[in-house]
Symmetry: C2
C-alpha cells in the first residue's frame, strides 16, 4: 500500500467527459490498494475566461482580487472531480488550498509555498477517502487572503504536498507522454525519456522544457519525491524524474526557450562592483535575469550581456541605460529576436568533448552563436530567434539523445 499524489492539468479535466475518465483512473489507483491524493488545475480555458472578465471591468485589476477570482477555477474542477469519484462508489472530499493548509507568502499572483499543513488531507485519508486538493492556490496566514502560485503552480502544489505527506510518488498527468529528448513538434524523431535525474530535469526546465516547471522539480529534489510525468490519455509509463537513475546519460535532451530577450551593455569600465551596480537594480525591479555573460577585459573595458523575459525587456533597458550612463559605458543594445538552446546531460561533466561537439554541430548548420553559458551538466547557446528550430534539430541529430554510457563504450 502506497501513498500516491496525482496531479491533473487543465486539459485533463477540461470537460465532464474528461473528468469522468480522470475519476476512472483515480478509482483504479485506489482499488489497487493505494491511498490517493489528487491535485487538479482549473478546467481547460477557465482561467483565460476569468482573466478576460477581469480585464473587462478593470484594465489593472488588484492582485488580491485577481487571486480571489482565479481561485474559483480549481474550486469548480475539484468539486466536479470529487463528484465524479463519488459516482463510482468511492468517497472523495475536495479541499481548497486554504483548507488543505497550503501556506504561502503574500505575493499575490506569484506566491511561494512556505509550509503545507495538510491536516484535513490526512484526516480524509485516514477515513479511507480520496482527497482532492485545489492546485495553484494557497492562503497567506497574515492577511488570511487567498493567493495563487503563478505559472506551474499546480505542479508545485502536487510535489510539495507529496513531500509534506511523505508520498511514495507524485504523478504529473499531462497531455504528452512524458519528457522528450527535444520538442517533438520540432524534432519528429525525438524520443521519450524513461528516466532522468532531478538535476537534469532542472536544467531542461530552466532551458525551456515546458512539461515541468523548475519550482516543482526543486521540491522533488529537496524532499526526494520521485516524479512520474505521464499521459492522462493512456496507461503507458511516462518519464520518471528521481534522485538516482539506472543509466547515466551523457546527453538526456535538448531544451529551447524563445521567451527571453538579450541585453548588452557595451564597453563597461572593468572594475570591481560593476556587475553589482547593474544587476542589483534589476533584482529590485523583480526582473528575473537568466544568462549572464561577461567577456574578458579589452583596453580596460568589458561587454556584459544578459537575458531577461521578453515582458521585462523595456524595464531592463531603462535600468541598463541609467547604469551605463553612471558607469560611463558606451551604450546599451537590446535584441528581442533571440532564443536559447540547451543541451543537458548528467554524464557530460566527465566527457569534455561535448561542448566542442555542440559548437561544431551549430557551425555546420550555419548557425551563429551569440552567447554561451555552461554548467557542469548543461551547455546553453543563445542564437538568432529564426534559427532556433534548426539549432535544436542539428544538436539532436549530432548527439541522438538519450546517449548513454554504454553507447560511448561501443
Amino acid at each position: 500500500m502506497a501513498l500516491v499524489v496525482q496531479k491533473y492539468g487543465g486539459t485533463s479535466v477540461g470537460s465532464p467527459d474528461r473528468i469522468s475518465r480522470v475519476a476512472d483512473r483515480i478509482v483504479a489507483t485506489r482499488a489497487a490498494g493505494n491511498d490517493v491524493v489528487v491535485v487538479v488545475s482549473a478546467m481547460g480555458s477557465t482561467t483565460d475566461e476569468l482573466v478576460a472578465l477581469a480585464e473587462a471591468v478593470n484594465s489593472r485589476p488588484p492582485a488580491r482580487e485577481m487571486d480571489m477570482l482565479l481561485s474559483a477555477g480549481e474550486r469548480i474542477s475539484m468539486a466536479l472531480t470529487a463528484m465524479a469519484i463519488a459516482a463510482r462508489g468511492v468517497e472523495a472530499v475536495s479541499f481548497t488550498g486554504s483548507q488543505a493548509g497550503i501556506i504561502t507568502d503574500a505575493a499575490h499572483g506569484q506566491a511561494k509555498i512556505q509550509e503545507i499543513r495538510g491536516t484535513r488531507v490526512r484526516e480524509a485519508l485516514a477515513e479511507g477517502k480520496v482527497a482532492i486538493v485545489a492546485g495553484f492556490q494557497g492562503v497567506n496566514p497574515d492577511s488570511r487572503d487567498v493567493t495563487t502560485l503563478g505559472r506551474g503552480g499546480s505542479d508545485a502544489t502536487a510535489v510539495a504536498l507529496a513531500a509534506a505527506l511523505d508520498a511514495d510518488v507524485c504523478e504529473i498527468y499531462t497531455d504528452v507522454e512524458g519528457v522528450f529528448t527535444a520538442d517533438p513538434r520540432i524534432v519528429p524523431d525525438a524520443r521519450k525519456l524513461d528516466e532522468l535525474s532531478f538535476d537534469e530535469m532542472l536544467e531542461l526546465s530552466a532551458g525551456g522544457a515546458g512539461v515541468l516547471m523548475t519550482r516543482s522539480v526543486e521540491f522533488g529534489r529537496r524532499y526526494g519525491i520521485p516524479i512520474h510525468v505521464r499521459s492522462s490519455f493512456d496507461d503507458s509509463e511516462g518519464t520518471w524524474v528521481k534522485e538516482h537513475t539506472m543509466e547515466q546519460a551523457i546527453i538526456s535532451g535538448i531544451a529551447h526557450d524563445v521567451s527571453e530577450a538579450k541585453v548588452t551593455v557595451w564597453a563597461v569600465p572593468d572594475r570591481p562592483g560593476v556587475a553589482a551596480r547593474l544587476f542589483e537594480p534589476m533584482a529590485e525591479a523583480g526582473i528575473n535575469v537568466d544568462m549572464i555573460v561577461q567577456n574578458v577585459s579589452r583596453q580596460g573595458t568589458t561587454d556584459i550581456s544578459f537575458t531577461v523575459p521578453k515582458a521585462a525587456v523595456e524595464t531592463a533597458r531603462q535600468i541598463a541605460e541609467r547604469v551605463a550612463g553612471e558607469l560611463g559605458a558606451a551604450g546599451v543594445q537590446v535584441d528581442a529576436d533571440v532564443a536559447k538552446v540547451s543541451l543537458v546531460g548528467a554524464g557530460m561533466k566527465s566527457h569534455p568533448g561535448v561542448a566542442a561537439g555542440v559548437f561544431r554541430a551549430l557551425a555546420e548548420a550555419g548557425i551563429n552563436i551569440e552567447m554561451i553559458s555552461t554548467s557542469t551538466i548543461r551547455i546553453s547557446c543563445v542564437v538568432s530567434g529564426d534559427q532556433v528550430e534548426d539549432a535544436v534539430r542539428a544538436l539532436h541529430a549530432a548527439f541522438e539523445p538519450p546517449m548513454v554510457e554504454a553507447e560511448v563504450g561501443a
Copy 2:
C-alpha cells in the same frame, strides 16, 4: 453618514457591463458619505451552468461537493465587483461567506444562518473600504465546510448582515422596480407599492410573491432593518418594507403561487391525534406543508386537505396513503393542477367584509374555490391551476390595491 448594505442579484451582475454599472452606483453611494457593504449573487446563468456540469459527472452529486462547486459562482462575481470599484478609484475588498463569518448549520444546500461574525467586514469599513460579501454561502464551524443557503439565500445574507452590522438600510436591487400590488405580467395595471409592513411582506412572500423570500423578511422584522426593494437599472425609489408604515393599507396586494399541489385524505375518523399521525411523518420527510384545511366532522369522519411543493407530492402521497390505511380513512386524492391566490393587507383585520368580497369577486368570475385559509392579514384560496390568472385579475379589479384607510372614508 449611514451604513448601507446593498444586495445585487444575478441579473444585476450578469455581465462585465452590468457589473460596471453596479460599481457606478456603489461608488456614488460611497461618495454621498455612506459606508457601503455589498452582497452579490453569482452572475446570471453561472449557477445553472455549474449545476449542469455537476449533473454531467454525477446524477446525484454529494451535497457537500455541490456547495463547494456552487460557491465558486459568487467568488467570481464578488471579485469582479471589487475590481470594477477599484477601477473607479475606490478601495474595495471581497470576502467569501467564510471570510465574512457567515456561520451556518450543516444542512448543505439549504443551510440556515446561525450567526454573523463580520469581523473582517468591520475592519474593511474602518479602513474606509467598500466590503463585498458573497451572498448565498456560509461556513459550518464544526465541519469547516462551505455551505449554501438555498433559494433566496443572497437576500438572507444581505438582511442578516445588515442586522449584524446594525445597518441603517438594506437595499435589495433587482430587475423589477419594487413590490407590486400583483404580478404585472398578469395584471397590466398593477401598481408599485411605496411601502408596506414586514407582516404584509411576509404574507405576500409566503403567498408566492417572488421578489423577496420570507426568510429575509423575517430577518428584517426580527432586527428592525428597513428593506428597500428597488431596480438596479434606474435611480427611482422602490418599495420600502419596514416596521411601521405611514399609511395602513386595507389591501396591499395580491400574490399567487403555482408551485404547490393539493393532497386530500377523505373520511378520516375524527378523533384526537389524527392530524399529528399525518403531519409528523411529513415533517420527518422534510416536506414543507403549507396550507392545511380540516372540515368539521360529518358522521364521525372528516376530510383533511393540505398543500405541498409539487416536487414533494409523490412522497407526500405515499405517506398519506400509508397513514390513511392505518387510520381507516376512505382514501387519498392528489391534485397537482392547483394554484393559490392570496389577498394581503394589514388593515383587513378591522374590515370584516374583505373575506366576503373575495368570495364574491371569485364567484362572479366563475372561479370555484377549492380550499380557504386565512390569517389576520391574509385570505388565501386554492383554485384550479388554469383559473389562477383570472382569479388574480378579478381580485385586483375588485379591491384596486393599494386600498388605504383614507379611501375607505371617502
